[in-house]
């Protein structure tokens, strides 16, 4: 893995949903998202909206893939989420790369609370084959 210089980037969307990337390693990443009211899909109780769960999974899958592609931009081609249980507590996600090809990579992400499996997710991402300075790296140096 190439080193990601400095902090993990945090785009506005992560701030909006409270997504944190907690670890990035070669082909592997983890993240979390607190069950705050902002991400609740129901008006009367805190249950994470499916879109918020998809967002956490996409983000963690992205960094797993990007980490083995020189931290170049690896756009999501498709994302598939299987929802297993309603999420009524803080969420943790763990992603790993299943396949890393010259055109596309596939990552698998599991989302859970400390007690319950919440979703199992797969995403296909474009890989650029770039290993040089990424837009993230460039952005960091601004």
């Amino acid at each position: 893995m190439d080193d990601l210089p400095g902090e993990v980037p945090r785009p506005p969307y992560y701030e909006t949903l409270g997504i944190e990337i907690t670890e990035i390693d070669s082909g592997h990443a983890t993240g979390r998202m607190a069950l705050d009211r902002e991400i609740s899909g129901t008006p009367t109780q805190a249950v994470a909206h499916g879109g918020a769960i998809a967002s956490l999974a996409d983000s963690v899958g992205y960094w797993a893939v990007s980490s083995v592609n020189g931290f170049s931009i690896t756009p999501t081609v498709d994302l598939r989420v299987d929802y297993l249980s309603p999420a009524t507590d803080d969420l943790f996600a763990e992603g790993r790369v299943c396949r890393n090809g010259d055109k596309v990579a596939v990552a698998e992400v599991t989302v859970s609370t400390t007690t319950t499996d919440i979703a199992t997710v797969r995403g296909t991402f474009k890989t650029s084959g770039q290993t040089g300075k990424s837009p993230w790296t460039i952005a960091d140096s601004d």
Copy 2:
């Protein structure tokens, strides 16, 4: 279609992302989401995060399905998003039910800007067969 009494419900998550459901008709729904900085997935320019696009699509698909199931709660079983182009402008989504069974329904949702197809999405939703008062209706009367 049963009538949805009063306003379309707006859970906290819709407020967070700026998702608006603009129309709900029998097996059909539309929505929109402005390209504000809050939903941007890149630090330096406004490009909607894939998770925000998934969130809009899931929401619109949900209402298309719920509308033909007595506005009962119809949880998402799985969601599959194909990303076609980066989203650099306000987003519009249109969903329709492809299949409405006694156990599950399938909805198809297209997400676009005024000029560009952004994503094509399919979701499978549980259908309860309920036609009575839904949790949304109950929540409305609080």
Copy 3:
């Protein structure tokens, strides 16, 4: 798990492709398919057609799900296949139920040769909640 009386059923399609279900246990099933010319997707060499791989995975996932639903019929609602490598040898599949609900179940199936991961597959299946005589059982007694 309810016992499956007698032999695992073998519909015509299994014969056509050479699909064998080798084990069915509670929420778990395995199967195999030889790389014969009949399943080859290329005219000049033996490489399994993606549809044959999907067929093996669907079959194994089906039996994993059916085994925890009284061997009732559990039709496939949707199937998602990620192809990891070309299949140039005999294929083995292993499936397990990730979620078994009153309306739908989700199964995950991996397809591999003795040396290579070929595909990773997820399917959503309808569950009937039936635990009595299944159509398979009835067919067996004919």
Copy 4:
């Protein structure tokens, strides 16, 4: 579109299942598969196995994509099938390319009988950017 010289190729697997590609045009393809006993997934009546439906869809999607990529080989990256109704009659499929990029293409395929929608399918395919002699063309000249 480049011309496909001569007949549409017919690999062994098409013969096994009775898949015929009936038309290939720029980004568009059609095919059919008779409901013979060989593709039946049930022992007692003719109902097409889900894997056979996936196979027809994958094949038609493949040719839609390949037709706009110089008839180079465009391997399936992932395939997602939503089953809408049981198939109890001959099957027809129609595919079109939704997106054709330099790395991947996405195709959408609908499968139906003359009276009923059977499945709606999406596939992601690798695109090689090749426009020269394809393996199919080479095979034809043997």
